[in-house]
């Protein structure tokens, strides 16, 4: 905790609050019928994305995300206005309105994309890490994977390859307890995902994903190891999501009162706030001000996205190839 400066703490809190506000607002806008397609919300998991990405450099470090990718985008520094436009399918979106929620990306920020395919990211991250190693950039690459993705063959293959090639990769398994509707307590054969690290010849750590500081510390260790050229690390982050698998999911598979209790007792933002105020590192007033600024940022982004035009017809056939 002590290694984080006041500016770092403000930065971390702002990003986490931005993700929360962004996702809570999308939940409402989706309910109002304003957003087309599939939307998977990250609310509740903010400490993971921000705790990891706080260590990363926009220029040289890459991340690949999952279908639940908005939080990772914001944590890696993607523009919130352009993201909102993208999710509304509007002109000026981060991907010109052609990707949407499930395929949102910004290569300029080292964000290789949310991914509509569970387990799609880990092989790509091995490639980004290989490029960093070959070109000598000093960069690392992070694969965010869910508990569902932890059971994909692509993930197993990538963990093996990363060790064999000694790649600067961090596999971050965000175990939120459910792969769609199926509990990880049932679907993950090893129980804890972290146990799989040893099988693939890499160190593993399991951390409390409700605690930003725990994630930050473990990620820091893993990322430093990668930067030293010592190879990949597995990080299992235990957390939960406040919303369903996708918007529209009635969550009948969850226990009665489960989400309410988590919101009350396991909210990473509340926990962060309590820790920094108790230790006197940051005042409540500062965070109240951030909350107000973030609320305005998201209000403005939603208003802007709603007012923005849809992409012109001419965009239908652009960007299929560089040249054809």
């Amino acid at each position: 905790m002590l290694q984080l400066s006041r500016d770092d703490l403000i930065h971390a809190y702002t990003r986490m609050r931005t993700i929360r506000e962004f996702e809570e607002r999308l939940h409402i806008e989706f309910g109002n019928g304003e957003i087309p397609g599939f939307v998977h919300l990250y609310a509740g998991e903010e400490a993971s994305g921000v705790g990891v990405c706080q260590h990363l450099n926009e220029g040289i470090d890459y991340i690949a995300s999952t279908h639940r990718g908005h939080g990772h985008c914001i944590a890696k520094g993607c523009d919130v206005n352009a993201m909102m436009r993208e999710i509304f399918g509007k002109e000026g979106g981060l991907c010109k309105g052609k990707g949407g929620s499930m395929h949102i990306a910004d290569f300029d920020k080292g964000m290789m994309g949310a991914n509509g395919i569970v387990g799609g990211g880990p092989p790509l991250v091995c490639g980004a890490a290989l490029a960093a190693k070959t070109l000598g950039t000093g960069g690392v690459a992070v694969a965010f994977v869910g508990d569902g993705g932890s059971n994909q063959g692509t993930t197993f293959e990538s963990m093996n390859l990363a060790t064999v090639w000694k790649l600067p990769v961090i596999f971050v398994f965000e175990n939120n307890g459910y792969a769609e509707s199926t509990p990880s307590s049932w679907s993950v054969s090893s129980g804890d995902i972290v146990k799989r690290a040893e099988a693939f010849g890499m160190p593993g750590m399991q951390v409390d994903g409700f605690d930003f500081f725990a994630v930050y510390e473990a990620a820091g260790e893993a990322i430093a190891r990668a930067r030293r050229g010592e190879g990949p690390t597995l990080l299992e982050v235990k957390l939960t999501r406040f919303f369903g698998h996708f918007e529209g999911d009635a969550m009948t598979y969850r226990a009665k009162g489960e989400v309410e209790a988590l919101r009350e007792n396991k909210d990473c933002l509340k926990i962060f706030r309590a820790k920094v105020t108790e230790t006197g590192l940051l005042e409540a007033k500062v965070m109240d001000e951030i909350d107000a600024e973030v609320k305005k940022l998201i209000d403005d982004a939603v208003a802007d996205a709603k007012a923005a035009p849809y992409p012109p017809d001419s965009e239908l056939l652009t960007d299929v190839y560089v040249s054809y």
Binding site: A105, P123, L124, L135, T154, V164
Partner: protein
């Protein structure tokens, strides 16, 4: 200066020259060197059929990388590396193995540029072996390039000779889109004159390999030489066939085909792939849509049958289109009143 070089040697030379030209070009694949960390020889194989032999000793194990047998991981890694500064050439070995890594090719590489609004660039080449005639049976003998041709965002190259392979592979490596490069394994020992200096052959430009005014034969890959053999047979009967090598199926140079059909009015399409939704059906549909008025006879297709590739040499020989079958189709189209 040109000298005789095999199809295998031409591919090896293109890889070597492109790696010399551009340090970001790297190779990866199962056994492309072979013997990594083994007690015996390094570069023990140079690929299962020796196509990449000798490259690891020149460029080292950091640029010619053996991989575990994990096609999803290393094809995906090649794609990821392509988006972040390298120009990887990954070898899938047999195209039949696409089933274990297809997601990375068609959902990831092919779609990045479009999905991400033009921001991503994925200059990766995926080499693989295709084709029947090796007695390798159902899971090591397919063509499958029609499946990749179907997918927007991919380019597909099916070279027909050593000269073509060298120039097209160099072009593929320099291209900024993901390229599938299909090498017919029965061509590896074929030799012809190939210039020593590097050169490129642009994608999307078909090659008229034999001129003729009676019937147009459109084909690709190994079927080009079989079609030329058929044309020689037909010439003895006074039928002059024009043979067009498509070279690439995506992009496809349909204009050259249409121009030829406007002249001949008769078309035979020869494709070693299965008959449904293949390159022959694609070419036929485009010709019917765009040059219907020029046609003097129904189009004939000569393809493999709608069946897996059999093992028994007797059956496999029956399976593959032959010069005789091609010549028979041309005669039928030519005789149509």
């Amino acid at each position: 200066m040109a000298r005789k070089l095999s199809f295998r040697g031409a591919i090896n030379e293109a890889l070597r020259q492109e790696m010399e030209r551009d340090k970001t070009v790297i190779l990866m694949g199962e056994d492309i060197a072979g013997g990594t960390n083994a007690p015996g020889e390094q570069d023990a194989w140079g690929g299962p059929l020796g196509v990449t032999k000798g490259l690891q000793p020149i460029f080292g194990p950091d640029r010619v990388m053996d991989t575990p047998i994990s096609e999803s991981a290393f094809i995906g890694a090649a794609i990821g590396a392509a988006t972040s500064g390298l120009r990887p050439v990954a070898e899938l070995m047999f195209v039949d193995f696409m089933g274990v890594c297809f997601d990375q090719i068609f959902n990831q590489a092919a779609k990045f540029r479009y999905m991400f609004g033009g921001k991503a660039q994925t200059p990766v080449v995926i080499r693989c072996m295709i084709g029947a005639g090796f007695r390798a049976a159902a899971q090591h003998s397919q063509c499958l390039y029609p499946i990749f041709t179907h997918i927007p965002g991919l380019k597909c190259v099916v070279p027909s000779s050593p000269y073509e392979a060298k120039g097209l592979l160099a072009a593929a490596i320099r291209d900024n889109d993901p390229v599938m490069f299909f090498e017919h394994k029965l061509l590896y020992d074929v030799e012809e004159d190939v210039p020593e200096d590097p050169y490129t052959i642009p994608m999307g430009e078909a090659n008229i390999v034999r001129e003729g005014s009676d019937v147009t034969i459109v084909t690709l890959g190994r079927m080009v030489s079989l079609s030329k053999d058929a044309a020689d047979l037909l010439a003895k009967d006074g039928i002059e066939a024009e043979v067009i090598d498509l070279r690439t199926t995506s992009p496809m140079d349909i204009d050259t085909v249409l121009e030829s059909v406007e002249n001949t009015g008769r078309l035979v399409v020869v494709d070693e792939a299965h008959p449904r939704c293949n390159i022959a059906t694609d070419v036929s549909a485009q010709v019917v849509q765009n040059a219907f008025g020029a046609l003097k006879a129904p189009i004939k297709m000569v393809t493999a049958p709608h069946a897996p590739v059999p093992f028994s040499p007797a059956l496999e020989d029956l399976y593959i289109p032959s010069p005789e079958k091609i010549a028979a189709a041309v005669r039928e189209v030519h005789a149509y009143a």
